[in-house]
């Protein structure tokens, strides 16, 4: 049936589609299905799911709008796209919340059935935008999705409420048709996973899906279809993965690579909870997950696990870091391996808990009493969370130190196609518990300045540790002034020395020139795309994305000096910017925003071009 159409087909390099509807409308599922099908079709892609803050906001309200954007292309894709080319709006609230983003000239598909007086009012419309001419900048396709769907599935015999709920599959079918996609993947999914749970609903959804496809194919309304050819993608097996899933898998991999038992102590918090959920399912791999009474207990138990010889992980978000900071300081002092994973969200305070932000950097670097150096690394894409988790664990056990791993709400919930790694090819993480009582000194150090890991149960290694300052080498309590000074500097040097093990900075684009774009974390895609655009516009631009934020790479100062201007782009008010200025006295420019949203490619390109132009 997929090839039955007779309509003409136009080819595009890239397209971004946003599905938007009420939170009950199944937009996330719709988006995920479209993503998987698109990936199977061989496009490169990026996605951005955007949930409402409430569990169940009132039906039809602006607060209840749920969206999912997918950007797919025949070339490399870095972000979910600044402006969608297509918007599917399942109700007036979805239209109102999203229309400002739609590209002028873009396609709008709206479910007319929902545009009654009551729903218009709920969305804050005084007249019907589908009729009042206010959408003249777009190509509007009003479709009575609800009723067509209901007719299409009438014979399945679902009750009205359940029947109405299948309309997202109609919309999905229609969009599949529009972008010349095969239904196969989604059909299989419906017949498999969904049918297993609810065969009747599966039957109805299948019909709705096909009805949507047929509607596109047969109605006069749609005169043509679009096509986005395959991209050139590194060969291999792929799957879609969210940042939180990749993080969970990364720590599982680290456990396997080190042979250690994974322990997660956590207290649920948006947007980090899914890591806890994922790992809770892996008990068969020997993973112990402990849902604690609060963030302090979570890290407390994790410290206990680190002390006892486990691969110790605690996960949280910004407010949780604030609560954990006293205990983070203890584990820094104990010099035990432990990873604190901070999935950043919009702050300050409770802030915008479901939105993304990069504003915990200074907190994790400095938010503890006394001189308390802790390594910090950040993941730059959903899939990269996997490797960052392994890197965090490696640093922790090799250098005997707590490590902070930063991700953010955008990475956590965002998904990307991800080349499945092969565990057999990944380097092991060597771990050695100390055993020899004769050579044992609790605070003796190796070439990394790491102390021995001496776990309970080891005969002859009985010793006491704690948060009071300790004598160099022996680890006994010491109030000696010079010892304290020396220990503070030793701990700082231990973290600084990690830089020796790091590869040199890898700059994308021009190795010197007008502008160096510096970023970290989940902004990678936008900065890369912005850099590409600016280079295409003829500027000499490099993009450096930092994974290691403490210690910073040894050659960073040199790299910064190779460009006339340094732009530090962040979703905060300039935290890495502040750090680089202090460290390198570089008169960098801060490009920042704090809107709970990722950068747009165009914003970055504009900023680069502006600063490349000004010959300051």
């Amino acid at each position: 049936m997929e090839n039955s159409t007779a309509k003409s087909t136009t080819t595009f390099e890239s397209v971004a589609i946003r599905f938007a509807g009420d939170s009950g409308d199944g937009m996330q599922l719709t988006g995920t299905q479209f993503t998987e099908t698109t990936a199977l079709a061989g496009n490169d892609l990026a996605t951005f799911p955007d949930y409402p803050a409430e569990i169940r906001a009132p039906a039809g309200s602006l607060a209840g709008v749920s969206g999912f954007q997918i950007h797919f292309s025949s070339r490399e894709v870095h972000t979910p796209g600044d402006e969608p080319d297509v918007l599917v709006a399942m109700n007036p609230a979805a239209l109102r919340a999203n229309i400002a983003d739609l590209r002028h000239g873009g396609i709008l598909i709206a479910n007319t059935e929902q545009f009654g007086v009551k729903n218009l009012e709920r969305a804050g419309y005084t007249s019907n935008p589908l009729e009042d001419g206010s959408l003249s900048n777009y190509r509007v396709f009003p479709v009575d999705i609800t009723n067509i769907t209901l007719r299409a599935i009438a014979d399945v015999g679902l009750n009205q409420r359940a029947a109405v709920r299948t309309k997202n599959f109609f919309a999905l079918g229609l969009v599949y048709w529009l972008f010349s996609r095969e239904l196969t993947h989604t059909e299989q999914w419906i017949q498999g996973s969904m049918a297993a749970k609810d065969p009747l609903a599966a039957e109805a959804n299948l019909k709705a899906l096909r009805a949507g496809w047929n509607f596109g194919d047969t109605t006069e309304m749609f005169a043509q279809r679009y096509e986005v050819p395959k991209a050139r993608i590194t060969p291999g097996r792929y799957k879609n993965i969210t940042g939180n899933e990749a993080t969970a898998l990364g720590f599982l991999a680290a456990a396997e690579l080190s042979g250690l038992d994974l322990f997660l102590g956590s207290y649920p918090i948006t947007p980090a909870s899914d890591i806890l959920h994922s790992l809770s399912k892996q008990k068969h791999l020997g993973v112990r997950t402990f849902q604690a009474e609060d963030e302090i207990a979570a890290i407390g138990a994790t410290i206990g696990a680190a002390y006892a010889g486990g691969l110790a992980l605690t996960t949280t978000s910004g407010p949780g870091i604030a609560l954990k900071s006293e205990a983070m300081n203890l584990v820094m002092m104990l010099e035990l391996p432990l990873v604190i994973c901070d999935v950043q969200r919009g702050g300050p305070s409770t802030g915008l808990p479901t939105k993304t932000e990069q504003s915990d950097l200074l907190q994790v670097l400095f938010g503890r009493n006394g001189e308390s150096p802790i390594p910090v690394i950040a993941a730059s894409s959903p899939g990269d969370c996997f490797y960052t988790a392994i890197e965090a664990a490696r640093i922790a056990v090799t250098h005997m130190t707590p490590v902070v791993m930063l991700t953010d709400g955008y990475l956590a919930n965002g998904a990307e196609p991800w080349k499945i790694p092969n565990m057999a090819e990944m380097p092991r993480i060597p771990v050695k518990f100390h055993t020899d009582p004769a050579t044992f000194k609790a605070y003796a150090r190796d070439e990394f300045l790491a102390r021995p890991w001496a776990i309970p149960g080891t005969p002859g290694l009985e010793h006491r540790v704690g948060g009071l300052e300790k004598a160099n080498i022996t680890g006994n309590v010491s109030y000696d002034p010079n010892n304290h000074d020396a220990m503070c500097r030793l701990r700082a040097e231990k973290v600084a020395r990690i830089a020796r093990t790091l590869p040199p900075c890898e700059v994308y684009g021009d190795a010197e020139g007008d502008v160096l774009v510096v970023g970290w974390g989940g902004t990678l895609g936008a900065l890369r795309a912005g850099t590409e655009r600016a280079r295409e516009a003829g500027h000499r631009v490099g993009h450096l994305h930092l994974r290691h934020l403490n210690p910073l790479p040894d050659d960073l100062g040199d790299v910064l000096r190779r460009y006339r201007k340094v732009l530090v782009c962040e979703l905060n008010l300039g935290q890495l910017w502040f750090l680089l200025r202090a460290r390198y006295l570089v008169d960098a420019v801060s490009i920042n925003k704090v809107q709970g949203k990722p950068f747009k490619e165009a914003e970055i390109a504009r900023a680069i071009i502006e600063h490349a132009g000004s010959k300051a």
Binding site: R237, L249, A253, K283, F290, A297, G300, A301, Y307, P459
Partner: protein, 346 residues
């Protein structure tokens, strides 16, 4: 390397050869001369070698306070952690390592003030921990402020006109937090304390022991009403499972219920021994009732308030892992990586 693999490679020391000296350390003890902590330390050092556990398998975790310096003076694995958080750390140790004997040493401030929440949650979960709370009814280390067990009206540095706080009853609190073993001992009562410590050590699950401890610097004599030789017989009610509640020099007094279900002190001879309450370590409500016997109106119960057996948190966690492992199809992490919707790009 996993802990299991590691443990299989080492061999444990012989616990039968241990004596109290083996548990002493070379660290100078930094408690005030005369502090009740010394007596408790001695009892613990006496109890540990009797448990048949290799020395390297003991872990003592403490918070902050005078009492929390305990691990430095006990030659086992130990951690002097941060204020109030010892139960959380101990939980992590025990959950990862059910093979270890894990102890928490804490004070009335550490456990019930800043640490109150972890305290009740550890008990709720029935993690197999031995929690020794040295109750001196004062903050010792910070030089004498009232604590959550200080009596109302107490004048301290931070309450010069007398504290208006009502105290917690730690035994009531532990019972309501579902602790499976709850007992009380007294620093100077070596025999009674020793017996309680031994039972606590052997209990599977959270064992809470409140130990009355004299802080001779900031709250001297707080327990004189109970420890004074002359008053002791009248002031102390020794709890014995299955025995009627009697006290007094010759057990001539007893505890019974009045018509309102409130406790009353009775003359055994006059009232009849069969009408006395009988101690039952398995009845939580009775334990709670006993915890409400407070001086000076009533004698102070000493000994075991409650002792019941319930699966432990760590044990159930272990069982769940075992079960999941036994059902697993194997394949490790690669299997998870490969799972789900995938596609291949050639």
């Amino acid at each position: 390397m996993s802990v299991q693999a590691f443990l299989s490679e080492i061999s444990h020391t012989d616990p039968t050869a241990l004596g109290r000296k083996d548990f002493q350390t070379d660290q100078e003890i930094r408690w005030c001369p005369g502090c009740g902590d010394y007596a408790i330390l001695a009892q613990v050092h006496k109890t540990l070698p009797e448990l048949g556990i290799p020395r390297e398998n003991f872990v003592f975790v403490s918070g902050i306070g005078c009492s929390s310096r305990f691990p430095y003076y006990t030659n086992t694995f130990g951690m002097h952690s941060i204020h109030g958080r010892a139960p959380t750390i101990a939980t992590g140790v025990k959950v990862l390592r059910p093979d270890l004997s894990v102890w928490v040493v804490t004070g009335d401030g550490d456990a019930l003030s800043i640490g109150g929440n972890h305290f009740i949650h550890a008990m709720r979960r029935n993690v197999d921990l031995k929690i020794l709370m040295f109750n001196n009814r004062i903050y010792g280390l910070t030089k004498g402020q009232y604590s959550p067990t200080s009596e109302q009206g107490k004048k301290t540095k931070s309450s010069p006109l007398g504290s208006v706080d009502y105290p917690f009853n730690p035994i009531s609190l532990a019972l309501s937090a579902e602790a499976t073993f709850v007992a009380r001992g007294i620093d100077v009562d070596a025999k009674g304390l020793g017996a309680v410590l031994e039972r606590a050590a052997k209990h599977k699950g959270t064992a809470f022991v409140e130990i009355y401890q004299n802080c001779n610097i900031f709250n001297d004599g707080a327990f004189d009403y109970l420890t004074d030789r002359k008053l002791k017989a009248e002031a102390e009610l020794r709890l014995e499972h299955g025995k009627p509640l009697r006290f007094g020099l010759n057990g001539e007094k007893g505890i019974a219920l009045d018509a309102q279900m409130n406790p009353m002190v009775v003359d055994v001879a006059a009232h009849g021994e069969d009408k006395l309450l009988v101690h039952n370590e398995e009845n939580a409500a009775l334990g709670f009732f006993l915890s409400r016997l407070v001086a000076p109106e009533f004698p102070t119960p000493v000994g075991v308030f409650r002792s019941v057996t319930k699966p432990t948190f760590d044990g159930m966690m272990e069982a769940q892992l075992e079960q999941a492992r036994s059902k697993s199809k194997g394949g490790g992490v690669q299997r998870l990586l490969d799972a789900g919707e995938t596609w291949t790009v050639e």
